[in-house]
C-alpha cells in the first residue's frame, strides 16, 4: 500500500454518487480513512455499504456544503473520529444549464451557493488542521467549462471559472504551509448530474467513466511531495476541437 494514502484522513464532498463516489471507492481501496458527505441520507447509505465491503474505515455524513454550520459540524465529526482532514476533495456540485433570460435569480443562487461558496466553506473549515500539521492536499473538481464558454451555461460556467480563480489564489497562499492545491477539469462524464436535465444529453462523444477521474485524483495524491501538477484537464477527444 502506498505510503501517501494509507491511513490518511480524506473527505470527499458529494461522495455518494458519480465522480465523488468513484473517488471515495479508490481512496478506501488505497487504505485511506475516507469520509463522504452529501445531502441525501439514502444515497449516502448506498455508497457506504459499497465502501464497507472494501474498508472498515469509512464514514458518511449528511451535510449540505452550502451551509456553514453543517460544514463545520462535518469537519468536527471527522476530527473527533480520526483527527484532522489530510485530503479534501471539493467535488459536490449541481448542474442547472439554462439560457440567460431563463436563468432565475433563485437558480443563480442555488448553483453559486453549492458550486462555489460550498467549496470555499469546506476549504476554510478544513485548512486550519492542515496548517497546524504543515501538510495537506486539496483537490477541486472543476470542469472543462472553466476553460471554455458555452451558450446556456453562463451561471454554471461562472461557478467553475470562479472555482479555478479561488483554487489558484489559495494554492499560492497555502504553499508555504506545505499544502498542495490541484484542479481537475473533467470533460463529459457519465454520472447522475444529468438527471437535472432529464438524462445524459445525446452528444456524439466517448463518455468518461467516473473511475477515470478518480484515477486522476489518485495519481495527483500519489505524486512525490515536491511535485506539483496544478491543473489537469481530463477530457474527451471531442473537446480538442472546441477549446
Amino acid at each position: 500500500m502506498n505510503l501517501y494514502l494509507e491511513n490518511r484522513v480524506a473527505l470527499v464532498t458529494g461522495g455518494s454518487r458519480g465522480i465523488g463516489r468513484a473517488v471515495a471507492m479508490r481512496l478506501a481501496r488505497a487504505g485511506a480513512r475516507t469520509a463522504i458527505c452529501a445531502r441525501s441520507q439514502s444515497s449516502l447509505d448506498d455508497a457506504l455499504s459499497e465502501m464497507r465491503q472494501i474498508s472498515p474505515n469509512v464514514l458518511g455524513i449528511a451535510a449540505d456544503i452550502s451551509r456553514s454550520s453543517e460544514v463545520e459540524a462535518c469537519i468536527r465529526q471527522i476530527k473527533d473520529q480520526w483527527g484532522g482532514v489530510d485530503i479534501l476533495i471539493n467535488n459536490a456540485g449541481v448542474y442547472q444549464p439554462a439560457g440567460l433570460t431563463e436563468t432565475t435569480p433563485q437558480m443563480w443562487d442555488a448553483q453559486f451557493d453549492v458550486n462555489l461558496k460550498g467549496a470555499f466553506l469546506m476549504t476554510r473549515a478544513a485548512v486550519p488542521d492542515m496548517i497546524e500539521r504543515k501538510t495537506g492536499t486539496i483537490i477541486f473538481i472543476s470542469s472543462m467549462v472553466a476553460v471554455m464558454s458555452l451558450p446556456d451555461h453562463s451561471c454554471y460556467a461562472a461557478c467553475k471559472w470562479g472555482m479555478d480563480g479561488f483554487a489558484g489564489c489559495i494554492g499560492q497562499e497555502l504553499v508555504d504551509h506545505g499544502i498542495k492545491v490541484h484542479v481537475i477539469r473533467p470533460g463529459f462524464t457519465d454520472t447522475s448530474i444529468f438527471d437535472s436535465i432529464g438524462g445524459k444529453p445525446d452528444f456524439d462523444v466517448d463518455w468518461i467513466d467516473p473511475d477515470e477521474i478518480a484515477g486522476a485524483v489518485e495519481f495527483l495524491l500519489r505524486l512525490p511531495r515536491h511535485a506539483q501538477i496544478p491543473e489537469l484537464n481530463y477530457t474527451t477527444t471531442a473537446h480538442r476541437k472546441t477549446y
Partner: protein, 238 residues
C-alpha cells in the same frame, strides 16, 4: 446604462458616453454621491437619469431598468461596472464577506445583464460591457475572494457573449489593473506603494467608448488595461 457610476470608473464612463451624446442612466447605493455625480454631468449638458439602486437586489435592478425604459426607451448599452473588493487571507474571510462580494460583483452583473438581454433581444441589437479586472486573469494569495468573483464574472461574461451573439448583442470585457479610484478606501490603504503609477479611470472609460464605436460586424472580447509595471502579472496562466 452604467452601474455604480457615482465614482471612479463608472463616473468617468458616464461622462465620456454623455459627452459623446448618449443619454445616460446611472445607479449607485449612496444617494448623496449619486446625486452629486448626476449634477456634475448635468453641468456638462448631459441628459442623465440617476436611480438609487443596489445591483445585488433584484427589485432595485428592476426599478432601475423600468425607470430608464420609461424615460429613455430600451437601453442600447449596459456597462456592468458596480463592484466591491473582498480582501483577506482564507482564514480571515467570513461567510458574510463572501456573500457580499459575490452578490455585488457576480449576481449584480447577472441581474443587470439578464434584464438588458430581454430588451436587447427584442431590439435585435445591443452592447454589454463588463468592467471586470485583471484579478480575473491571474492568481494572488490573500485575495481569493475578490479574484474568485472576477474569474466567475469573466466566465459568465464569456458564456453570455456566445449566447447573445445570434441576437446581435455584443459583449466586451475590460480588465483594468490598478486604477486611480476610491476602490481601495475600504482597506484604508492601496495594495501597492504610493509611488506606483495607477491607470486613470478616464483611460478605462475611453476603452468603453471605443468599444461602443466598433463598426458593424466587428467584435472584441477580453481586453486588459493596466499600468505597465503590472505586466508581470499577466500571462501567468493560460
Amino acid at each position: 446604462m452604467i452601474s455604480g457610476a457615482s465614482l471612479g470608473i463608472g463616473f468617468a464612463t458616464a461622462r465620456r458616453l454623455g459627452r459623446a451624446g448618449a443619454r445616460i442612466s446611472i445607479c449607485g447605493r449612496r444617494e448623496n454621491l449619486l446625486h452629486e455625480a448626476a449634477e456634475k454631468l448635468r453641468g456638462e449638458q448631459i441628459d442623465v437619469l440617476e436611480i438609487c439602486a443596489d445591483v445585488s437586489k433584484e427589485e432595485d435592478v428592476d426599478r432601475w431598468f423600468d425607470e430608464t425604459a420609461k424615460r429613455f426607451g430600451a437601453p442600447s448599452v449596459l456597462v456592468n461596472n458596480a463592484g466591491i473588493a473582498g480582501i483577506g487571507a482564507l482564514m480571515e474571510l467570513d461567510e458574510a464577506q463572501w456573500d457580499k462580494t459575490m452578490r455585488v460583483n457576480c449576481r449584480g452583473a447577472f441581474l443587470c445583464t439578464r434584464r438588458a438581454a430581454f430588451f436587447m433581444k427584442q431590439a435585435d441589437r445591443g452592447r454589454i460591457i463588463f468592467i471586470s479586472s485583471i484579478a480575473g486573469q491571474y492568481y494572488r494569495g490573500g485575495y481569493s475572494l475578490y479574484f474568485a468573483s472576477k474569474w466567475a464574472l469573466n466566465g459568465f461574461a464569456h458564456s453570455a457573449a456566445k449566447e447573445l451573439q445570434p441576437f446581435n448583442i455584443h459583449v466586451h470585457i475590460i480588465c483594468p489593473g490598478m486604477t486611480e479610484t476610491r476602490f481601495f478606501d475600504a482597506y484604508g490603504a492601496r495594495p501597492h506603494p504610493a509611488e506606483k503609477h495607477y491607470v486613470d479611470p478616464d483611460a478605462v472609460a475611453d476603452m468603453v467608448e471605443r468599444f461602443c464605436r466598433l463598426p458593424e460586424g466587428v467584435d472584441t472580447n477580453e481586453y486588459s488595461i493596466i499600468p505597465s509595471w503590472q505586466l508581470k502579472n499577466l500571462g501567468l496562466r493560460r
